[in-house]
Amino acid sequence: MTSNLVELRDLKVSFDGIQVLHGIDLDVKRGEAIGLVGESGCGKSVTWLAALGLLPGKARVSGSVRIEGRELVGQPRAALEAVRGGRIAMIFQDPSSSLNPVLRIGRQITEALALHRNLRGEAAKMEALRLMDMVGIPDARRRFDLFPHEFSGGQCQRLMIAMALAGEPDLLVADEPTTALDATIQAQILDLLIALRRETGMATVFISHDLGAVSQVCERVLVMYAGRVVEEGEIGTLFDAPRHPYTRGLFDAIPRLDGERRRLIPIHGTVPDPRRLPEGCAFAPRCSSAIDACRHLNPDLTDMADGRRLACLRPVGEAWSVAAPAVLEGAL
């Protein structure tokens, strides 16, 4: 069999007849950290919500999601409940509103411990305190009985992580975990995620629009656009030489803290409405290297020589460098 922990094959999702995910193929190995980047509407969160069956009832999910060979799509609720938290845990974007405001935080953690590790009473409390220490909550014993609103945003995210770890999951899916937090706190949480991965050996899927954050935590990155994966590769390979025009465009559009103050190179146009996807490649209308074929053919995600996967008929050449922007501007 494969050594993959989780395999997504041709995962499709539609809401009320509008398709938002167009067939995602993705592997996560044991202990691996992969990043999922893209902008709004690309489907990066929907992918994992669908995998865990957390989408609202009107969502239609098809395709295959396997965890160590076991299929999840189309399974009854009970089967999904067995996987959630215990095998695959997920943390979300807005930590302050992702915790139940009327329940004490200790109780929310011990609930997960009772559910997945059959720990109750004093034993559960001990373990919960250990988890709170592990995620860096100072003075955990005194804070055990506090309510979520008595913690800051960063601390709430740590608590969510503690809750997620309670089930000793094989995979942690972190959906924009640092987006709503202050810059210095973001750095702390990223650090925490890296440290925890080292300690527990669990796999991580880091979903974000922030390429920089992803590059801190992950070994491999998938770039998504309009419900599809358009490029995938090792961090180093991808960041040195992005080959999909969208990936390239993302890099160019991000301002840099170092170097000269340069005019940003935006990607013209906007993300397409899922109801009105263009024929052919979804990125073609915004792509500076699009040819006629791009507007009729939707390129498949194919394996490349350097180990990456790419869905593009006219990928960016190897000669991409910091100097290129000036040339490109003229072309635009």
Binding site: E81, R84, S97, N100, V102
Partner: protein, 309 residues
């Protein structure tokens, strides 16, 4: 700090009750002469004047008011003009009868209204959901006197299984209780439904599901405690009107409770009794509001302490 809170609330309660009494006082005296009403239109003039003198109605209104307020503080709530009985005793006597209707009605409202609303919220767009909404709207839009008469028509006249008036047996209480309950069930169902829908859309419900909790645990342990907060406010008001809420129903069904007493006394301009009833009603309302306020703080921890991020 807690003491200060309660004291402020009590003070406000006191002002409210005072406002109610004053308002009633003034309106009652402006709206008709008790003497004429009590004695009939044919009574000779001297009798009317004598009546007025006995009851102090010939005094200027602020004198009457001052006298009344003074007497309340010494525990004297006045005397009924009709049968010379102590007003407060008359009122207290009637309370049990009213409660015999309102308490079962409240229990029905809670037992049917809340579960119906919650169930509808968890099964949105289903037939049950639509049915609950439809039923709820019917329930609270049909005025209680229409509902009462319809029930009488159905059960007393057509089916002949239930009595239509009086307080002789426990079966007499069924129709009035039902009439009272139906409107409240509708309100509670609608309200519980929207409270639950709002809670279920919150991010922390998704977190609870993502933990691997069984659906019923997500609903019971996570959703309901949050939905309880707004629902408790409504229930609080319903408790507040345990005494006052039966006026129309008692009139239709000739049920000898406070509501009926109020109607009769107002018709007769029996001032002391009316004022006494209003005082009791205002006090109950105010107390139940206070309890709801305190309960709120206990149910929603965010109101208890202010965190500063």
């Amino acid at each position: 700090m807690m003491v200060r809170f309660i004291l402020t609330r009590l003070f406000r309660a006191f002002i409210t009750i005072l406002a109610v009494i004053t308002f009633a006082f003034v309106v009652l005296r402006m709206s008709g002469d008790p003497a004429q009403v009590m004695l009939g239109p044919d009574a000779p003039n001297e009798t009317v004047l004598a009546f007025r003198a006995t009851w102090g109605l010939d005094q200027p209104i602020w004198v009457q008011y001052a006298a009344y307020i003074k007497s309340i503080f010494s525990g004297d709530f006045g005397v009924s003009m009709r049968d010379k009985a102590s007003a407060i005793h008359l009122v207290i006597e009637r309370i049990p009868a009213t409660l015999q209707l309102t308490i079962p009605a409240l229990l029905l409202k809670l037992a049917i209204g809340i579960p119906a609303g919650v169930y509808a919220a968890l099964h949105r767009q289903s037939i049950i959901d639509r049915g609950v909404i439809f039923g709820a709207v019917l329930g609270f839009t049909i005025p209680s006197f229409v509902m009462g008469l319809l029930l009488v028509l159905l059960f007393s006249i057509i089916l002949g299984v239930l009595p239509s008036g009086g307080q002789d047996t426990w079966q007499h209480g069924i129709l009035p209780t039902l009439t009272m309950a139906i409107g409240g069930i509708g309100i509670l169902a609608r309200f519980s439904r929207s409270a639950m829908i709002e809670v279920m859309g919150q991010p922390f419900i998704r977190t609870a599901s993502a933990k691997g909790l069984k659906w019923k645990d997500v609903v019971w342990s996570h959703a309901l405690p949050n939905a309880a907060v707004p629902i408790v406010t409504i229930v609080g008001f319903m408790v507040g009107s345990l005494i006052a809420g039966a006026v129309v129903v008692e009139s239709i069904f000739s049920w000898p409770g406070i509501g009926r007493l109020l109607v009769v006394s107002v018709t007769n301009r029996d001032l002391a009794v009316v004022q006494c009833i209003l005082l009791v009603v205002a006090a109950t309302m105010v107390v139940s509001n206070l309890v709801v306020d305190l309960l709120y703080g206990w149910l929603d921890p965010r109101l208890r302490s202010q965190s500063a991020h």
